[in-house]
């Protein structure tokens, strides 16, 4: 088997359980490749299956047909124990953020670093740097539930980037951001891509659609993913 770097979808099918859902698949025979060092934007109407595709790429859902390969390895077919370990190479920005509300912003950033077996001082340093980058330096000790919607979203993005994961998946990462912060978030993703990360962003945000930072753009409709041209 060819060892293609990055994330690759081969004839990917997905439908929710149940006979009625099986007749209307969310994804049907999707073929795609997300290469390292590249930013890919996936657009599509609400309900088109963008979040589902992202969850499949993250190994949180299992495809009903086809497979997803990460650097040539068929991770979507691995049992959960192996997928859980592999997911340590992944940073995810969920649409609903999935922060731990009672933990402070800094503690939320600490969580993905714990399994990476870094030195405590290294963790502290990295968390501080990331909080400064995200314009959250003064809010590190505040519980996540006390932050505003936009701040929480930046914290979620920072959590995805901390530890410099190989794969970064972001679902509507700029939905609650002003233009300045949206630009800064795109710049952060670009920096991660320059360091060799595979980056896939799902969004309907016109600011992202119009951004020149994305190397590839795809449109998801009727269960199929079609490559679209930059505007």
């Amino acid at each position: 088997m060819e060892l293609t770097p990055g994330l690759t979808c081969h004839r990917l099918d997905f439908h929710w359980p149940g006979d009625r859902s099986a007749k209307r698949p969310v994804l049907a025979s999707v073929d795609a490749r997300f290469a390292p060092g590249r930013l890919t934007l996936i657009t599509g109407e609400t309900g088109a299956g963008k979040s589902t595709l992202l969850h499949l790429l993250a190994g949180l859902l299992r495809p009903t047909g086809g497979e997803i390969r990460a650097d040539g390895r068929p991770v979507s077919r691995w049992p959960s124990s192996h997928r859980d370990l592999w997911r340590r190479n992944m940073g995810i920005v969920f649409q609903h953020l999935a922060l731990v509300p009672d933990l402070s912003a800094a503690e939320n950033l600490l969580l993905p670093l714990v399994p990476r077996k870094m030195a405590w001082s290294g963790m502290q340093e990295q968390i501080h740097e990331r909080l400064v980058d995200a314009d959250l330096a003064d809010l590190g000790q505040f519980p996540a539930r006390e932050l505003s919607g936009g701040q929480r979203q930046r914290l979620a993005m920072t959590r995805a980037l901390v530890g410099s994961p190989r794969f970064i998946l972001a679902d509507e990462p700029t939905a609650f951001q002003d233009d300045d912060h949206a630009r800064r978030m795109i710049a952060q993703l670009q920096t991660a891509a320059d360091e060799g990360a595979v980056i896939v962003v799902c969004s309907q945000d016109p600011r992202l659609k119009g951004s020149a930072a994305f190397h590839h753009r795809c449109h998801l409709a009727s269960g199929t993913l079609v490559r679209s041209n930059p505007p």
Binding site: R11, R62, G65, V75, R77, P79, S81
Partner: protein, 343 residues
Amino acid sequence: MIWHPLTWAFWSAAFTGLLIYGLAAFRSANVFLDWQPDRADSRQLRRERDAEIAALLARGALACLAAAALLGLIGIALAWHWVVPGAMCGTGVLQAMGSYGSRALIFWGLALVILYAWWVLERLNRFDPMGGLTWQAARIWLTAAPFLLAAFIDSWQALMRVESTPPVSCCAAVYDQVLGETSAAAVTRRLLAASFWGHLAGSVSLLILAVRRIQRPERGSGILPAAIMILWVPAASICIKHFWSAYYYQVLSHPCPWCLFLSDYYGVGFLIFGCMAAAVLSSVSLWTANHIRRHPLLSKPAVKRIHQSAWQLLAAIILFTILTAGLALVWRLRTGVWMTNPF
């Protein structure tokens, strides 16, 4: 059926285990019948999910069935003789159960040995993300089905017989064996002597094999310890019954292995037969891991497993020897004579 809490505990664990076993077997059958790891179509992906769920269910089933077997053993050895008229230990209970009791014990043992081989294989299989041994694991899981069913049917028949049986005589069953020796006495003596030497030779061979596998786990045979074990277990059981038990009872001519489980002898039977079970399971583990040693992805964990199993085998045989021959030796040093003479 005996109205004893342990009986209900036994059946609860056994039926729960059987139910979960059945669910796992149903999914394993799907895997066994049409496993195609080279394909990634929806049917193969469903089978992969089946295999993962079957492995989870199977671990639960194995825990329940092992608990049921242990409860059954405790029942025979320690509890049910109170409700069998005339019984004083497991011998009386087995007498009341007729041939079903012994058959149930044998089938439980065989089923658990097969399921343990599955457990070893499954644990090694978890090191390969693509589950290269999934089909083999499904096959082993299904292989245990006839033995498990036979164990259930015989256990049911045995426990149903217990209450309706006429009073038994534990000691008569034991002493008849001693006093009834007439024409067959010479043959019996020869058989006992053969068992004694076979047991000693087996113990020494297993110790040597275990030490060699500890030193060089990547080299050696897996079948040899298993083959020796098949001969060693019956020989060792005969020796416990006819030679070693006398040093615990401190009386001659009481060849009863079940009294060793009683509190009068500090339940040492659990330790002695536990060591024997540990030795058997270690050899099963050695055999299984040795088969997997040549698998390109699983060679390292298989060698590690062989190393662990060899240590377990060594420890089990040493402890078994201390608990049996060790006590006899202490007696010999204290009194200057042996209580039993195998020659």
